[in-house]
Amino acid sequence: MEPIIHLKDVSMVYGGNGTRTTALAGISFDVLQGEYLVITGESGAGKSTMLTILGGLQVPTEGAVRIGGSDLSALPADGLADFRRKTIGFVFQAYHLLPYLTARENVMVPMSPERVPPREKEERANDLLASVGLAGKEDRLPSQLSGGESQRVAIARALVHDPPVLLADEPTGNLDSATGEQILDLFSGWHGRGKTVLMVTHNKANLSRATRSIRLRDGQVEEDRLLQSFSAEPAAV
């Protein structure tokens, strides 16, 4: 099966003027479509750098990254933006909702530059909010939502373009364990539809739902472990 994500000798070195920090040092691995991959590691292991490279937010100093058939290092800035919009859904630990927009409007933000009828955008946002259990709370501002609800809005926002890959950075880090479980249920449900999930986390409890785990240490893969089998349904890229 063709991997949906392919990393080959990926290195990321920050700094200059004599100060150089190696965040990633020659990492290579493939991710198949439909995998639920959890990336763990201590602080400074290179997890967040990995996520930003996979999300096309930065280009590695060395190596090749191909996602869904696109060579990210060959894409221009606008091409990377289109790639993020169509292929990647981001979920952040701190939700990063725009505080002056309602839940519905936050979900609609990625569609703002698109020439789609407003009614269509609203219906799409309402459906997504309903799918994450927020029906009836569409008009609430982030300040009127709990942490778990805010993270659900963020997930709905990430799914608005139905991306084949969902990248999550400590999505349960700011939530209590019960709410965290509910959020993980959403990821599992979405993964169950044949999508690929990459989650960066410190929390080993998150491993229970994953099909595979990679542990990073000092910018290198220390351990790559298959946790359970998975079924790959075709997903459009």
Binding site: T52, G55, G56, L57, Q58, A77, D78, L80, A81, D82, R84, R85, K86, F90, F92, A94, H96, L98, P99, Y100, L101, E105, M108, V109, P110, M111, S112, P113, P118, K121, R157, A158, H161
Partner: protein
């Protein structure tokens, strides 16, 4: 949800910043519109004041210089006058198409005649028109001139050794000296000034006029057209605009206009800089938000467009508000600037609103470019 609505929502969230951003444009446009409106109306007022200060057109008989000679010998020259002006010509001048622009027509008769045994130049004009035709004269001993009275130029008074209350004889007639002019530096210093009817009688030329002085109200009226119309009404006359007077009036008004534009330009520039600084500061503050937008797939162009729309909304609203305020201020303050009949001048308001919007958008370009150029890496670090 689209970029315009997103921009609007963000403005509503940051009301105080939006107000501060718009304040520069508001003040700039309000000042520009107020100054332009007042200046525009003052042009009329100043022109009116200047028009009251003497004539700007002279109507005299057409004459030609003929040189006389015999062989190679030059015998001097003489002036041949084709026609003469009379008091009846005043009516013809007053009947031209632009008659409503003519404030006054004053006939003058200049002749040499005896004055208490001295041969002096007499200048006659209607006694009632003295104050209007020569408002800069300062008369010692009185203001009024009546039939049977004369005013003496300073040099003439010294020559005749006469003062106010004295008398001057001319032939068999006796004139009372109504006053003496303070020195003007002009030819009238050596003249005897009297009512035109008295001078006509003295010269035995009833109804005769040497020249007319015409004062035209020239706000937005071409003097040249009035000159041409008078020329048509009096084919035998030479009509000429006193260019020095006309040009100096235009220059005075132009200077006033330039002053207004200069002040407005400075205020507008400051307004533009305020927009630039405020929006630039806003970009710094919003690095995280821009990072989120980049992460969810906003292109550089979309970020630029977002910042542009935000400033566009602020600029549009503050420009319209500034233009309205400028009109109101100009209307209320008009009497302070000597404008007797204030009116609403819309053209500066329209220009101001467009200029304010343009200025705001131009001021937003550098920060919008900066925001668009913000690398996702830099933006995402703050997430």
């Amino acid at each position: 949800m689209n970029i315009r609505k997103l921009a609007w929502k963000n403005l509503l969230r940051r009301k105080s910043r939006a107000v501060f951003t718009g304040l520069g444009i508001f003040l700039g446009i309000a000042t520009f519109v107020a100054i332009s409106s007042i200046t525009s109306q003052m042009e009329g007022a100043v022109q009116d004041q200047l028009d009251r200060f003497g004539a700007n057109i002279v109507v005299s008989p057409r004459a030609e210089q003929l040189s006389l000679g015999f062989g190679n010998m030059t015998l001097g020259g003489t002036e041949v006058t084709y026609s003469r002006l009379t008091m009846a010509d005043k009516e013809r001048i007053a009947s031209i198409h632009h008659k409503d622009r003519i404030r006054s027509i004053v006939p003058f008769l200049v002749t040499a005649a005896d004055a208490s045994g001295k041969n002096l130049v007499w200048m006659g004009l209607p006694a009632a028109d003295v104050a209007g035709a020569r408002p800069w004269w300062k008369i010692q001993g009185g203001m009024g001139l009546k039939r049977g009275e004369v005013l003496l130029g300073a040099e003439a008074a010294a020559l005749l050794d006469k003062g106010a209350g004295g008398t001057v004889t001319a032939g068999k007639r006796l004139f009372r000296v109504a006053g003496v002019l303070q020195p003007t530096g002009e030819k009238e210093d050596g003249m005897v000034i009297a009512d035109i009817a008295d001078v006509q009688a003295l010269a035995k030329r009833p109804g005769a006029v040497t020249y007319f002085e015409v004062a035209a109200l020239c706000k937005n009226c071409p003097v040249e057209q009035i000159v041409a119309q008078i020329g048509q009404a009096l084919p035998g006359a030479r009509v000429s605009a006193i260019r020095q007077v006309v040009e100096s009036r235009k220059a005075a008004v132009e200077q006033l206009r330039r002053l207004g534009f200069g002040v407005s330009a400075i205020v507008l520039l400051i307004g533009g800089l305020m927009v630039l600084v405020t929006v630039m500061g806003g970009v710094q503050e919003r690095t995280r938000e821009i990072g989120v937008l980049r992460a969810v797939g906003f292109r550089k162009r979309s970020i630029f467009s977002l910042l542009f729309w935000e400033t566009g909304w602020v600029s549009l609203l503050s420009s319209l508000l500034g233009a309205g305020t400028g009109i109101a201020v100009a209307y209320i303050a008009s009497p302070v600037f000597g404008i007797e009949h204030p009116s609403v001048v819309f053209s500066p308001a329209i220009f101001g609103a467009v200029a304010g919007l343009s200025l705001g958008l131009i001021g937003a370009i550098p920060p919008a470019r900066r925001a668009a150029a913000l690398s996702p890496t830099e933006a995402i670090r703050s997430l």
